[in-house]
């Protein structure tokens, strides 16, 4: 892994710009995709941007009977191979953090792919609560 995606919740103001950036950067057929990141409130006015943590021992990868989920060594992300996915929802059910989701609009399973190494949420986050750094 050459890069690390970092979340700094104390800087998050819950503006949801990351959500927009994510949805638009994953648009398909002129329709925005489902956001893979959600700033969620844990207390009044206190937020944590919840996004796939790209676990070291990922439950989604284990749960996929069709090998559709694989680690991308470049970006460090667990990438979903749409061509292999049969939408059985195993990963959606198995991810302990709920970060594999169903995009009903596009009828597909989605998860954070760190935008193939150029995360849109990081670029747009106004408070730099999201960082993507070389390690």
């Amino acid at each position: 892994m050459k890069y690390r995606f970092e979340i700094i919740p104390s800087l998050c103001i819950g503006c949801r710009t990351c959500e927009l950036a994510c949805a638009f950067s994953h648009a398909k057929d002129k329709k925005p995709g489902r956001s893979r990141i959600y700033p969620l409130a844990y207390a009044p006015d206190k937020y944590v941007p919840v996004v796939c943590l790209q676990c070291d021992d990922p439950a989604c990868v284990k749960s996929c009977m069709f090998n559709a989920l694989k680690r991308n060594e470049e970006t460090g992300a667990i990438d979903l191979d749409e061509e292999r996915c049969v939408k059985c929802m195993a990963c959606v059910a198995a991810c302990p953090f709920g970060c594999a989701m169903v995009d009903a609009g596009h009828d597909e399973i989605v998860k954070c792919d760190i935008c193939k190494g150029n995360p849109a949420c990081v670029q747009f986050c106004p408070t730099k609560a999201l960082v993507y750094n070389k390690v």
Partner: protein, 258 residues
């Protein structure tokens, strides 16, 4: 890396990958119904046929199913020769006779100029094109709960003895992969019905949302050693839980700092 010529253009491809994958990557429109990355190709629908030749074949050519033909260096491929168009037209004409009610087949046939089948349409048919994608995916899953039964015209995909399939875990992979969407299922009141078998859906303990069947979850827990707690709540609730957990840590850290 191998170099092959597709429709007059030299392209790079991985030695051994199937021609259809390269063709798709280039955005060339070759119809294919029975191919899916998650299953081994079997060349059942025949629609993905392309013409191949090599310089040393001295003009000799042959038509092959591209989903089954591995890339070899120096291959010359043509995807839209008049002969191929004719073959695809005939195939779609036959498919349309078998599945006159399938919107997908109608659309594909239309694209090849078949507005109505020239054979006898099987109006009462069930739109199954006998591509075996469902049985193949079930096999990959390690279950093989369904298979082809009977022979010839009577051949259908069904569970053994037409009864509730004992090995089925209600994962829906067969219904999802079916190109013509002919495998019916229903999720209602926490129960999934597929192949006439009823399955309990795992219900989120917080909000009641359902995602997979109990049997499928148990299969994953056992086969892939995933902790069973992971399945107790739905994705929405789990995201919230994560936020709360991280929030708790932040609050604690702040207290310590003070």
């Amino acid at each position: 890396m191998a170099h092959i010529t597709i429709n007059g253009k030299v392209v790079k491809a991985h030695e051994g990958e199937m021609l259809l994958a390269v063709i798709k990557r280039l955005g060339i429109d070759v119809p294919a119904l029975c191919n899916h990355e998650a299953i081994e190709p079997t060349g059942n629908c025949r629609l993905c046929m392309v013409e191949i030749t090599r310089p040393e074949w001295e003009g000799w050519k042959k038509n092959v199913t591209s989903c089954l033909y591995p890339v070899e260096d120096g291959l010359i491929v043509n995807t839209h020769t008049p002969e191929l168009l004719e073959i695809r037209k005939t195939l779609l004409d036959l498919q349309l006779a078998r599945c006159p009610n399938s919107e997908l087949i109608q659309k594909m046939a239309e694209e090849y100029g078949v507005h109505e089948t020239s054979y006898i349409a099987n109006v009462e048919g069930d739109n199954c094109i006998m591509c075996y994608a469902c049985t193949r995916i079930c096999e990959v899953l390690g279950k093989s709960a369904i298979s082809a039964v009977m022979r010839g015209q009577k051949k259908v995909i069904a569970p053994p003895f037409g009864e509730e399939p004992v090995d089925c875990i209600g994962c829906l992979a067969c219904a999802q992969i079916c190109p013509t969407d002919v495998i019916p299922y229903e999720d209602k009141d926490g129960i999934r019905t597929i192949w006439k078998k009823k399955f309990e859906l795992v219900t989120c303990k917080n909000c009641g949302k359902t995602i997979v069947t109990r049997d499928f979850a148990d299969y994953l827990i056992e086969q892939r050693r995933i902790p069973h707690e992971y399945f107790e709540t739905c994705d929405d609730c789990k995201r919230l839980e994560l936020a709360k957990k991280m929030g708790g840590l932040i609050t604690k850290a702040a207290e310590v700092a003070v």
